[in-house]
Symmetry: C2
Subunit: 336 residues, 2 copies
C-alpha cells in the first residue's frame, strides 16, 4: 500500500491522486478511506457558505493569511454546484493557487459537482476526511447554497460561517433556506455598502425571534432516513450565533472574525468533552455515509445483469407494481 | 378488503383514511397501494409550481372551474413544505374547500411536509397514485419551489406549469433552481403588473438560448442513484415550452392557458404511443419509489435492535470506520 503511505506522508502527487479517485467515485478510493479513517479527527474544519457574490473567496483568502501567520497549515475545498460549465470556482481557484503557489502549507482544490438540479450526492465529505488524515491543521470548506449535498458538507464542519452581502436579498433567502440553523457566525461582508446595518439588524431580529441551536436535533420515532439526513448539524449547546461585519478586500473586521472563530472553537472543544455530544456528531457522520452507501449499492444492484430493464418489462406488461418490485429489489440487495 | 373496495368506489371516508395512512407513512398504506396500482394510469396529472405569492392557488381555482365546466372531475393536492407551522396551505385549503363544498366532483387536500431543510421524502407521489386509482379525471399537484421532493412530484405530472409574477425576482430564481427544465408551460400571472412584458421577454430569451427538453435525460455509466433521481422529468420530444400571460383574479388569459394545457396533453399522448417514452417514464417512477423504499428499509434496519447505537459504539472506541460499518449494514439489510 504505497499510495496509503504516501498520502499519510502528505506527498503531493499521491494526495492529488486520492482526491481525484474520490471525485470520480472509484471503489479504490473507499478502500483507502477505510484505512486512513483512524488518522482523522485532528483537523479543525471550518465551513464557509453563502450566495455567489457575497465575497466568500476573498474572505477565505484573508483567513488563509491569518492562519498561516499563526503557523497553521490550511487546506481549502471549494464546491461550486451551480453549473458544470460555469468554471467560476475553477477560475478563482487558479488565481488563488498562484498567490499561494510557493507556500507548501496551503492546499486549494475546487470541485464542480455535476448533474442536474443539485448535482451528485456529495463526495466532498470524503475529500474532507482525506485532507484530515493527511494532517492539515485547518480545513476550510466553501459551498454555495443549502441543497442536500451542501448541508451534508456543512455538518462535517466544526464552525460554520454564513457570508452575506448587504442589498442582495440574502436576508429573505436565509430564512427560506433554513440557513439560520446552520450558522455559528454570520459574516456581513462588504460592510461599507449601503444597507449593511439594516442587514445586521434584520439578522439580529431573526436570531432574537428565538432560534436557539442545540444538540437536541435528533429525530425520534419512525421517520425516514431522508428526513434524518436533513437534520441541522449538531452544534455546541449554549453558543449564541455571532454577527461580524467585514470588508474582506481591505481586511476590516478580520480580527473580530478570527476571534469569533477561536471562541466558537473553544465552545466546540468544551462541548466535545461530553460523550453524548460526540455520539451525536458521529451519528450524523455515519448516517450521511450510510445514506450514500445505500444509494451506491442500490444503484449498482439495479444496473447489475440488466435488473432495471427486467423491472420495467414487468411494469410495461403490468404483471407487477412498482411498490412490490422496489421491495423485492431492496430485499435482494444484501443477498446479491 | 373492504377499504380497498371502498377506495375504488371513491367512498369519501375510505379515501380520506387511505390518504391519511399514506401521509403518516403507515405500512398498511403500501399494502393498499400495491393492490390499487393496476387501477392507475387513467388520470391526467397537471403539476403547478412556483414561488409563494405568484398566484398558484387562484390560478388552480380558476382551472378547477374550467375543467368542471367541461364535465371532468378534479382532485387537487397542495404541498407546502415551507413550514409545519405556517398553515398557509391549510388555511387556503379551508377557504377553497368551502367554495367547492357542494361539488362532489372536486376534491382538495393539503399536505404540510414536515422536517427541517426540505421536509420528509415525499409521499405525495403515493397520494397522486391513490387519487388516480380512485378515478379522478384530472389531478392538479401544487408545490412550492424545486427541492428534491418537489422535483419528484413534478416528475409524475404529464403537464407542468411554472407560475411566476412580475417583479418578484422569479426570473433569476428560475435559472438558479433549474426550473426551466421542468416547465412545459410558463404562466406569467398578475400580468397587469409593471414588468410583466419584461418577465415574458426574459423567459423567451432564456428559452431561445437553447434549452430543449427531450427524452434523452437518462444518465449512463456508473452514477449514483441520487443523481439519477434528480434528473428532469421525461417530457414529449419536440414540445416547445409555451409562455402564457394571465390575470387569474379576473380570468384574463385563462382561455389561452386551457388551450396550451390541451395542446401539451395531445403532444404527451402522441409521445406515449412510443414504447421507449413509456419505458422512460416508468423507469423514473420506479427509481423514485425504489429510492424511497431503500430509505425506509435502510432506516428501519438501523433502528432495529439498537443497531445504530452499536455502530456508534464502534465509532466511539475507534474499532472500525464508518465506511466499513455502512457497507456491512447495507449488506445485512437483505438478510435481516
Amino acid at each position: 500500500m504505497t499510495l496509503l503511505d504516501d498520502v499519510l506522508r502528505r506527498e503531493t502527487r499521491a494526495c492529488a491522486r486520492l482526491l481525484r479517485w474520490i471525485d470520480d467515485g472509484l471503489p479504490e478510493a473507499r478502500t483507502i478511506l477505510k484505512q486512513i479513517y483512524r488518522n482523522t479527527g485532528k483537523a479543525f474544519i471550518i465551513g464557509v457558505t453563502g450566495n455567489p457574490g457575497a465575497g466568500k473567496s476573498t474572505l477565505t483568502d484573508r483567513l488563509i493569511g491569518r492562519f498561516r501567520a499563526a503557523g497553521k497549515t490550511v487546506a481549502v475545498v471549494a464546491v461550486d454546484p451551480s453549473s458544470p460549465f460555469s468554471g467560476g470556482a475553477i477560475l478563482g481557484d487558479r488565481i488563488r493557487m498562484q498567490e499561494h503557489a510557493t507556500d507548501e502549507g496551503v492546499f486549494i482544490r475546487s470541485f464542480a459537482t455535476r448533474g442536474h438540479l443539485g448535482g451528485l450526492t456529495s463526495t466532498t465529505s470524503d475529500v474532507v476526511h482525506a485532507l484530515d488524515a493527511m494532517g492539515w491543521d485547518l480545513i476550510l470548506v466553501e459551498t454555495v447554497g443549502v441543497g442536500q449535498d451542501e448541508v451534508e458538507v456543512q455538518r462535517l464542519a466544526h464552525t460554520t460561517m454564513v457570508v452575506m452581502a448587504p442589498g442582495m436579498g440574502d436576508e429573505i433567502q436565509a430564512i427560506k433556506a433554513g440557513i439560520l440553523e446552520i450558522a455559528d457566525i454570520f459574516v456581513v461582508n462588504k460592510a461599507d455598502r449601503e444597507g449593511a446595518d439594516r442587514t445586521v439588524n434584520e439578522l439580529k431580529m431573526m436570531l432574537d425571534m428565538g432560534f436557539v441551536p442545540s444538540v437536541e436535533t435528533q429525530h425520534h420515532g419512525p421517520v425516514a432516513l431522508a428526513a434524518e439526513s436533513k437534520q441541522p448539524r449538531v452544534t455546541p449547546g449554549g453558543w449564541v450565533t455571532k454577527i461580524i461585519k467585514t470588508i474582506a478586500t481591505n481586511g476590516t473586521g478580520l480580527d473580530d472574525l478570527v476571534t469569533a472563530i477561536a471562541e466558537h472553537r473553544k465552545a466546540y472543544e468544551l462541548a466535545a468533552t461530553d460523550p453524548e455530544f460526540v455520539r451525536s456528531r458521529l451519528r450524523q457522520e455515519f448516517i450521511d455515509i450510510y445514506r450514500r452507501t445505500l444509494f451506491t449499492h442500490g444503484w449498482s444492484y439495479l444496473m447489475h445483469e440488466d435488473h432495471l430493464n427486467q423491472v420495467i418489462d414487468r411494469l410495461v406488461d403490468r404483471s407487477s407494481d412498482p411498490y412490490s418490485l422496489a421491495e423485492q429489489t431492496v430485499a435482494a440487495l444484501g443477498r446479491g
